[in-house]
Symmetry: D2
Amino acid sequence: MDNQVMEKPKLTVFNNLESEVRSYCRSFQTVFDKARNARLWDTQGNEYIDFFAGAGALNYGHNNEKIRQKLVDYMMQDGVTHSLDMATEAKETFLTRFQEVILKPRGWDHKVMFPGPTGTNAVEAALKIARKVTGRSTVLCFTNAFHGMSLGSLAVTGNSFKRQGAGVDLSHSVFMPYDGYFGDDVDTMAYMEKLLDDPGSGIPLPAAVIVEAVQGEGGLNAASGEWLQKLARICKDKGMLLILDDIQMGCGRTGPFFSFDDAGIEPDIICLSKSIGGFGLPMALTLMKPEIDIWEPGEHNGTFRGNNLGFVAAAAALNYWETEDFQLDIGIRENQIRESLDCIAKYYPQLSGEIRGRGLIQGFAFNKPELAGRLSEIAFEQGLIMETSGPHSEVAKLMPPLTIELDTLEQGLGIFINSVKQLAAEERLS
Amino acid sequence: MDNQVMEKPKLTVFNNLESEVRSYCRSFQTVFDKARNARLWDTQGNEYIDFFAGAGALNYGHNNEKIRQKLVDYMMQDGVTHSLDMATEAKETFLTRFQEVILKPRGWDHKVMFPGPTGTNAVEAALKIARKVTGRSTVLCFTNAFHGMSLGSLAVTGNSFKRQGAGVDLSHSVFMPYDGYFGDDVDTMAYMEKLLDDPGSGIPLPAAVIVEAVQGEGGLNAASGEWLQKLARICKDKGMLLILDDIQMGCGRTGPFFSFDDAGIEPDIICLSKSIGGFGLPMALTLMKPEIDIWEPGEHNGTFRGNNLGFVAAAAALNYWETEDFQLDIGIRENQIRESLDCIAKYYPQLSGEIRGRGLIQGFAFNKPELAGRLSEIAFEQGLIMETSGPHSEVAKLMPPLTIELDTLEQGLGIFINSVKQLAAEERLS
Amino acid sequence: MDNQVMEKPKLTVFNNLESEVRSYCRSFQTVFDKARNARLWDTQGNEYIDFFAGAGALNYGHNNEKIRQKLVDYMMQDGVTHSLDMATEAKETFLTRFQEVILKPRGWDHKVMFPGPTGTNAVEAALKIARKVTGRSTVLCFTNAFHGMSLGSLAVTGNSFKRQGAGVDLSHSVFMPYDGYFGDDVDTMAYMEKLLDDPGSGIPLPAAVIVEAVQGEGGLNAASGEWLQKLARICKDKGMLLILDDIQMGCGRTGPFFSFDDAGIEPDIICLSKSIGGFGLPMALTLMKPEIDIWEPGEHNGTFRGNNLGFVAAAAALNYWETEDFQLDIGIRENQIRESLDCIAKYYPQLSGEIRGRGLIQGFAFNKPELAGRLSEIAFEQGLIMETSGPHSEVAKLMPPLTIELDTLEQGLGIFINSVKQLAAEERLS
Amino acid sequence: MDNQVMEKPKLTVFNNLESEVRSYCRSFQTVFDKARNARLWDTQGNEYIDFFAGAGALNYGHNNEKIRQKLVDYMMQDGVTHSLDMATEAKETFLTRFQEVILKPRGWDHKVMFPGPTGTNAVEAALKIARKVTGRSTVLCFTNAFHGMSLGSLAVTGNSFKRQGAGVDLSHSVFMPYDGYFGDDVDTMAYMEKLLDDPGSGIPLPAAVIVEAVQGEGGLNAASGEWLQKLARICKDKGMLLILDDIQMGCGRTGPFFSFDDAGIEPDIICLSKSIGGFGLPMALTLMKPEIDIWEPGEHNGTFRGNNLGFVAAAAALNYWETEDFQLDIGIRENQIRESLDCIAKYYPQLSGEIRGRGLIQGFAFNKPELAGRLSEIAFEQGLIMETSGPHSEVAKLMPPLTIELDTLEQGLGIFINSVKQLAAEERLS
C-alpha cells in the first residue's frame, strides 16, 4: 500500500450536491468503490484496511461471501424484498434461527419485534413499550450514553452537540452517572438507588433505565458485571424495566453475542441493530419479555420493518454463533489488539493515553483530546481507517470486522503503531 | 386464481415468536414467498394481485428486473454495501442522476441529505433543521397527517392511537385543519392565517409547516393546488419553512414525480422515502434549499444513511423519469381505476361511498367505516391485496405498483368489483 | 378637577429602585395616596375618577366603609391574621356565608378550596385537580384567553407577549377559537366538537376546558349563553371538566354574581379571585363539585391561603348579594355607560369603534388600535383612569367600581366623552 | 394552660364546605380565633404557644402592635389598599426603607420587583427573567428543595407527592444533590461541576441554579458557607444566574436578615416572601441585579402585586433591622432552643434523633419518621403548635416567631420536652 503517492479521487459531486451534515467523508477524503471483508478500495484503486467496520454494522466484514450468495440467490428467485410486516418465508426462517441460536440457549423467551430497520427505531419502540407497560414517562439514562438521533432516542443520549440539534427541549429523561463516572471509588449505583429511594429527590419513579454495557460513542467506557447486576436488581426492586441497548456492542463486538452475556443478566428489553443485518443491511430488533409485549397491533409501525434482504442475511449470519468457535476467534484478535495497545502505552508514556474498551472495540483515550483526531488523520494517510469517540473525541478507536484475517489485523496494527510513532514525533516538535 | 380452494400456510412461527405489534399479517393471513411486479405468491403457491405496493414503497413493482440486475452486478463486483456517510461511487452516481433527472428540470438547487433510511428519519431531520434555521420550536401540522413513528414525527402525526403509543405528551406541534376539513365552503388557510396574525391566538410563530399534498394514511384527502399555493405564500410571509412530506405520495404515486408538482410550489424542505429506494430497499432523502443547509457536520447522523444498495437501485429507478412516458402510463392506469370506482359508485349507491384520491392511490370512503375492512377481507379471499386508511379505517384503498401491467390491473379491478358486489349482498342481508 | 394646572408628584424613587417590569405606573404617572369608592387622590391632592377598579379587584370600591370597619375591628380585637390552612373563626364565617348567599340559592354543593391568594393560584389548582380527576393532561383553552402568569396558567393564556416571557415552551394546552372568532357565521363549538370527535385530529381527549364567559384582557369578547351551553354539553359528553375562570368577571362585574349565571350552566370548577376579597385584599377560591374534590390533604398548598383579613372582608362583601338590589343598581349603571358609548358611536363614526362587553365592563374597540391608548392618555390628563385591553390594546375599557355613585359615574362619563372629542379632533388633524 | 380538660370547638363547617385539600387543620383540630405574638387562642378560649409561626410568615409575631397601628391608621386615613403596579406613597416608603436598611448596608443595587404577593410568584418571576437573560431553559435545583406550587416553581421542587399533583410532566429542571446529600465526605459541588464540564453528561448549560441556604420543607438541611461560595463561583464561571430562594429562611429566620449573609455571597436574584409582609400579609419580592432587569413593561404581572397594606407593614417591620439588636435577640433564643435539643439528644438517645437547622428554625430528625408526627400530636394536646418537615415528615420543627418573649419560649420548650418524654414512654411500651 503506497497510498501517499497515488492520487485520491475528488469529492466535487458530494461537495456540490450533498448536505453540509455529511461527516465521515470529510475525515476520509476519497471515494470508495469496492470492499471485501476488512479491506476497502477507492475508485483510484487505493487500498485501505478497515478498523471502523461501519461503526459496528459490519461485524461480519464487507461482502461476506457466505451471506452474499444467499442474498443473490434469494433475489434471483423472485424472493419478496419488501413486505411491511406481512409474514414471509424469509422472516420465518430468521425468527426460527434467532430462537434456536440466540434465545433458546440462554433460556429466554423474549418476543421479537421488528421496529423499523435502524437502531433509533429499536430504541423508540423500547421506550414506548416501557412507558406503556409501566404507565410512567421518565426514563433514566447515563452520562455519555448514545441511543440515536430521532427525538425519543436523542432525549436519552448524552452528547450535547447532538442534543442541541433537536431544536427543542428534550424531556422525560434523567441522566445518571455511568459506572466509573466519578472515579473508581464511587459506586454510582448506590447514588442512583439513594435518589430513587428518596421521595424528595425530584426524580420520579421511572418507567425504565436504558443502558449500554459498553459505551461506544461515549468513549469506550465499560460497565463492570457487578454494576450491571446491581442495576438489574434495582430495576426489579423498583418495578422499572431494564432496556439494554446492544445496538453497537451486540452481535459479538465485545466477544460474546450479547455484550452483557458475562454479567449474567436478562434484560427486560434488548435493542439490536447494526450487525444484526449481517451484511450491512438496515435491520433492527426490539426484544421483549413476553409479559411486556402488550402492544396493540400496529401501535408502532414503519414501512421498512419488513426488509427481507436483511432477514436473509441475518439468518445466514447467525450461523457464526452455532458453536463457540467464532467467539474464540474474536478472543484471539482481542488479545492481538490489546498487545499493541499495551506496547504503545509502554513506549509512548508521554502521550499519556489510557486503554479503553474490550473485545474488538478497544482504543486509546488521550489526555489531549485533539491527538485522537490527528492520529486518525495520520492513519488514513497510511491506509488505515479508524475513528474517534468520546465526549471530546479523545478516544482513538480500533474496531475491525470480527472476521478480519489475522494477517490483515497484523498489518493494520502495524500502520496504527507507525501512526502513533509519527504522532509522538509531531508532539515532540510542537 | 382459485385461492379459496387452496390451503393457506400456517402462521405458527409468527404467532409464537413475533411481537403482538404485528399488524398486516393479521389481515393477510398467509406466508408470502415470491413476488414479481404486481403479483405475490405464498408458500403454498397461491397467487395474489398486489393493490397495496408496500404502502407506496413498491412503485416500481416487486423484483423489477432492470433494477435487480444492477443490484446483483454491484454486489457480485464487491461494491461497497454499507458506508455510513463516506463517499462512494454508488452515492456519487445517485446524486448526479437525481440532480439531472429531478432537480435540474425544475430549476431547483436543493441540497440532498441522507438522514437515515426511513421516512421518519427524513422527517426528524427536516424538523431539526427547520427549528435550527428559525430558532423557533413549534411546527404546524394538519388534521389526519401521518409523518412517522419516532417521537419527533409522531408529534406532527394526527392519529390518536399512534400518538397514545408514545407514552409521553407530544409537544411543539399545533394542528391545523387540512384542506376541506370543515367542508368545501370553509377556507382553512384563511383560518390558519388569522390565528398567525393574532398575537392573542395562543399560537406562537412556528418554525415550519409540515404537510402532505395528499394524505395517504389520513384517508386519501387531497389538497387543492390553490390551497397549497396559499400555504406556500403564508409560509413565506411569516418566515416559516414549508416542509413537504412526499414520502408516500412522491415518486409518481399521484402521477408526476412530486405530488405537488402541479401546484407549482417549491417547498423549502422535501422528505422522500418509500419508493425512492427503487426496489423496496430502505432509503430516505431530506432535500433542502441551500440557504437552509446550515447543519454542522454530523449534527444529525445514523448508521444506515449510507445504504449503497439503495443508491444503486434508486439511481436505476430514476430512469423511469427521464421522459414523460412513465407519467403518461400512470395516467392511463389512473383512469382505469377511476372508471371502476365511478361504476361502483353508480351501481351501489346504497353503500354510500365517496371516491377519494388521485393517481394510483384512489379509493372509496364508506359512511359505515367497517365496510372498508370487510371489503378488504373479501378481496383477499379472492386473491387481491388492498388495505384501508383514514381515521376510522373507512377508506378502501387501491394502490397498485405504478408499473402494473394493464391486464393485471384489469384483473385486480375485476376482483375488486366482485368483492364490492359481495359486500353489497352481505349488507342487504344484514 | 383642574388637574392640568396642578403639578404631578415625581416617580424618581420608582424609576431608580423598582424593576423595569412595572407597567401601569408608566401610563398613570403620579403617586397615589388616598382613595374612596370611585375616587383616587395623588400626593399632590389631584383627584381622579377610577374607571379601572383595580382591574376588577375593587368591585366594591376603595375603602368601602362597611367592610373597612369590620377589618379594623377584627384586627384591634387580636383576630388571627395569618393561619395557613388552619381553621379560624373568620374562615368559618366566610364559608358559611358563601354557602348561604352564593351556593345554596343556585342549588350547588361545590366544595371551596383556598388555593393561595391570587387568581393564578386558583387556576393552577383547577388545572391540577382536573388533570388528576381525569388522568389526562391536555387542557383546551381559547384564543385571547387570559388566566395568569405562573407557568400552568400561562400555558392556557393566549397573549404571545406574556407567553414569550415564560422562556420555555408552554405545553399541555390546545387553543380553540372563542365565540365569534371567525365571525358571526361560524359556530366555533361545532368546530371544536368535530376535532374532538375525529381520532385523527391530533387533539387528544382533554382533561378540561378552561373558559371566561367574557374575556377581559382579551378585548371584552362576550360568549353567548347558547355557546356556553354547547360547551357545557360537549364537556359532559366527552367527560372533560368545565373550568369557568370568573376571576375578573365574577362578583357582579357583568351584572349577576357569576358572569355565566344567565347561561344557566353549572361548571365543574369555578375560579374566583380579584373582588372576592371584598376590599382589594389578596384572596382566591377554587370551587369544585364534590365528586371532583379528590385532593389528598396538602397536595396543593401555599403560605397565604389563610389570609383572614380577606375572609373578613369577603364575608362582609357578600352582604351585597343577599337581595337583588345590588344587581339592579349595576343594571342602572350598565345602561348609563351603554348610552354614552352609543352616543359616541353615533357621533364619531369616523373613529369606527365597536362597542364591546357588558355590565360594568364595557368599552370601545378601535380599528386603529393606537387610538385606545391615546384615549386613555387624554382621559388621564383630564382626571379619569381607564385602561386598554385586547390583543393589540385596541379596546378602551370602562370598568368603574360597581358601587360608583351615579353622579360620579356621570362625571366620569363626561370626561370620557370629552376625551373622545379631543381624540377625534386630533385624528382630523393627523 | 389546661387544654386537655377544655373542650375543643368542632370543625363541622370546614369538613362540610371546604375542600379535602385542607391539611394543617387536620393536625391542629380546633378553630382559632385570636392571637398575639407567640400565642394563639381558639374559640373556646384554649391557649396555644406557636412554634410554627405561619411556616415562617410570622417572624414578627401575631398582631405585632407597632405594625398593626400603622396599618389601622393607614386604612382609616383612606390610604390606597389596592393599586396594581401604580405608584403609591406606601410603596414609595417601602422601597426607600428597603434600600436604606437592607440593600445599601450590603453595598447592593438590586432592583426590586413585586411579582405578585406569594412566594411562588417570586420564584416564577425569577425563573422567567433568568431564562430571558440567558436564552436558556434548564434550571438546576436541588434534592429536597421546595420552591412553590405553581407549575414553574413545582418543576424545581423535589417533593414527589407535590410534583405528582401537577398532573403533567414537569420539565426544564435538573436536580443536583444538595450539600451533604451523599454524606459529609462527598463534595456535591465537585459532582455538579463535573457534569457541567462534560459535554456528554446530558445536562445542558443551565440558565440558572435555584437554591435555599437552609432547606425548610426539605428537612432543615443547611448548606455550608463554603458550599454556597463554590456554587456562586461555578455560576459565575458558567454564566448561570444564582437564584437564592430566601422565602422561608429570610427576614431573620436563621439569624441575619438573609440566611446567606454569613456566606458572603451576592446572588443575582433573591426571592423573598412570607415574613417580608411584616404582619402575615401576602407580599413577595424578586430582587435582581440591575443588569438582569431586562423585563419589558408588563411582561410579568398580577392583580395583587400592589398590596399596599403589605407595603405599610413591611416598611414598619424593617425597623427591626436598623440596628443589630434584633439579630442579637434572635441569637439568644437560638441558643435557648439548641440547649433544649441538646438536652433531649443526650437524655433520649434511644429516640436516635439528629439535631438540624439553625437560628429559629431548628428541629429533631427522627430515624423512625413517624415519631415526628406523633410528637407534634402530643405537643398539640399540651398546647404547643409545631410541625414536621422532611421528605418522610421525619423532622420535628421548632420555629417560633423571632419576637417570642423569653418566658413564652421557655414555656414552649417545656411543653416540647414533656412531649418528648411522653413519646419516649410510648416508644418503650410499643
